[in-house]
């Protein structure tokens, strides 16, 4: 082969074999798969924009929309389209949910990723993932039938469907997903780092706190942001556990209404093309942009892990 090398190699480098064509074919197929995600997301955005655009152009008063706390979209004489109370509802529930979820999720991730070994670790991982798979309506049901009377009893308040209830439910919902992603981030830290630190006599906690967590910090931040995105977009559990009443909250025992729940509850009752219909889609555009921003930020942060 070496003797005739020159001639043979020339041909081989210019000849496209079956393998070469299969390679190109597969590249195009996976390209279609990859590009379809972009097409779908643009399609969805175009759809909700088209439905909401009429309202945005002809009726929307941005100042009223974002600063009025009065939401009377179906009032025939003088409808009001203020979503401030809804934003406050979503923000307060999501905020409380994160306060609940972050310690749980990071604790679970650190325990499963760093301390647990053997069977314990395997069982915990499966359970955490199982927890993440529970449908949101089941969580809503728990909020409605277990948390509600519990909060009334414990805190002596008239209604148990409020920010506290929804925040805890949503926190427990988001925690397993956050824990799962956070654990992946911890696992991505090379064992060599841990060995190098432990070889200096650092305790397990010192290794985790000084070496592992800083190394995984972008992945952990990404996990938290994805949890925020999850909480922000959650609908059913929030609809069931918040009490669903439009309200600027003063305390965590106030009932509120979330942006998502508003769309879910009201869209079915509106006439297609009406102002009410349009404003719900405008909320949809708003939600889309916010979740898009959160996920984009999370993605950029997680990407930073791989570069750094």
């Amino acid at each position: 082969m070496q003797q005739g090398g020159n001639k043979m190699s020339h041909d081989a480098f210019d000849r496209r074999t079956t393998d070469w064509y299969i390679d190109k074919l597969m590249q195009s197929l996976v390209f279609i798969g990859g590009i379809s995600a972009i097409i779908f997301i643009i399609g969805i955005f175009v759809f909700i924009t088209m439905e909401g655009m009429d309202f945005v152009i002809s009726r929307l008063d941005p100042v009223e929309f974002f600063t009025s706390e009065y939401w009377f979209p179906s009032d025939e004489d003088d409808p009001e389209f203020g979503i401030l109370a809804l934003i406050a509802g979503t923000a307060s529930v999501t905020g409380l949910a994160m306060l609940v979820a972050i310690p749980f999720a990071l604790g679970a991730a650190i325990y499963v990723g760093e301390f647990a070994t053997g069977k314990t670790r395997e069982y915990l991982k499966v359970l955490v993932e199982l927890l993440a798979a529970i449908p949101s309506v089941v969580w809503g049901f728990i909020g409605l039938s277990i948390m509600n009377p519990l909060i009334i009893d414990v805190f002596d308040v008239p209604v148990g469907l409020n920010i506290l209830n929804a925040g805890i439910i949503l926190g427990l919902m988001a925690a397993p997903i956050m824990a799962s992603i956070a654990e992946d981030a911890l696992k991505a830290v090379p064992d060599g780092y841990r060995e190098a630190a432990e070889a200096m006599g650092a305790t397990r906690w010192q290794v985790i706190f000084k070496v592992v967590l800083p190394a995984a910090k972008n992945g952990l931040l990404g996990a938290v942001l994805l949890g925020v995105g999850r909480g922000f977009g959650e609908t059913m559990a929030v609809l069931m556990a918040t009490g669903h009443s439009v309200n600027m909250p003063d305390s965590i025992f106030d009932s509120v209404r979330a942006l998502t729940a508003t769309i879910a509850a009201e869209l079915g009752e509106t006439a297609v093309g009406s102002d009410h219909y349009g404003v719900l889609f405008t909320i949809g555009i708003f939600l889309f942009l916010i979740t898009f921003l959160i996920n984009l930020t999370a993605d950029l942060i997680v990407r930073g892990v791989r570069k750094g």
Partner: protein, 264 residues
């Protein structure tokens, strides 16, 4: 130790395997290697020595177009392999399959030891089990690994020790039956005894293929290489017959200093 292959090297008419003209490599705007012109002749061991950051590894990457994996890596200049301009190839995979590479850090693929070595023959269409058995045994023997693993060919290659994985990597490169074998610091994770065994194998392989040997050990270059190039800070300072360079006949003072261990 004047073997027939070494005699060939003296022959100016010997076939050029690789012909590199005015090669420059940049990472972004930072040059890694500038204006390198050299040729590698068939059936020689071509040594490349030089301190870290001299551009040795970048040079190897360029030869089989691995620069495509590094997005900000820019390559200028001409490289001809067997007289063929490698920038013009219509089938880059065919080019790479003719050039075997052994990276400094061993890469035992997460396959069995047997499959690690049989992978390349399988990719090129060899399916007969008996043929594969022969190739696997021959390549592992040559890489001085056969005796240690012959009873556990079905265990995972990625679970071998570092030195064993390095020899597995060499065996895998040999299974390609390459025209050119490029070794980048192959002895970094291998003990001295095994290193000497592999060096003996390389001397034998010279009759079948062309070998480019990048090494930090100047004495390894002296033991193996027919000709040696000295790279320093992105420049190819000098190329010469290894014996000349090591017997004080180097043209550049920096080459003599480096070989004598005065820096780097």
């Amino acid at each position: 130790m004047v073997s027939s292959a070494e005699a060939l090297v003296k022959d100016a008419n010997q076939t050029l395997k690789l012909d590199v003209r005015d090669l420059s490599i940049y990472y972004g705007d930072t040059p890694a290697l500038e204006n390198v012109t050299l040729d590698v002749r068939e059936h020689e061991i071509f040594g490349i020595i030089g301190p870290a950051n001299a551009g040795k590894t970048s040079f190897l990457k360029t030869l089989n177009r691995m620069d495509m994996f590094t997005s900000n890596m820019k390559v200028q200049g001409d490289i001809h392999f067997n007289g063929f301009d490698i920038q013009k190839t219509r089938n880059i995979y065919a080019l790479r399959s003719r050039i075997g590479v052994v990276f400094p850090l061993p890469v035992g693929l997460p396959l069995t030891i047997y499959e690690n070595v049989a992978l390349s023959p399988r990719l090129s269409g060899i399916r007969n089990k008996a043929d594969l058995d022969v190739i696997v045994e021959r390549c592992l023997t040559r890489a001085a690994l056969w005796d240690e693993v012959k009873d556990r060919l079905d265990s995972l290659g990625s679970l071998l020790s570092g030195g064993q994985q390095q020899r597995l990597t060499i065996a895998r490169a040999l299974s390609q039956e390459p025209d050119v074998l490029m070794l980048d610091e192959f002895s970094i994770a291998v003990d001295p005894v095994t290193t000497m065994r592999i060096e003996d194998v390389l001397k034998e392989l010279k009759s079948e293929m062309t070998i480019i040997l990048v090494t930090n050990l100047v004495q390894q270059a002296r033991r193996l290489a027919d000709r040696t190039a000295f790279f320093l800070e992105g420049k190819c300072v000098e190329i010469g017959d290894t014996e000349d360079l090591f017997t004080g006949n180097a043209k550049e003072q920096s080459t003599i200093d480096y070989i004598e261990g005065k820096f780097g």
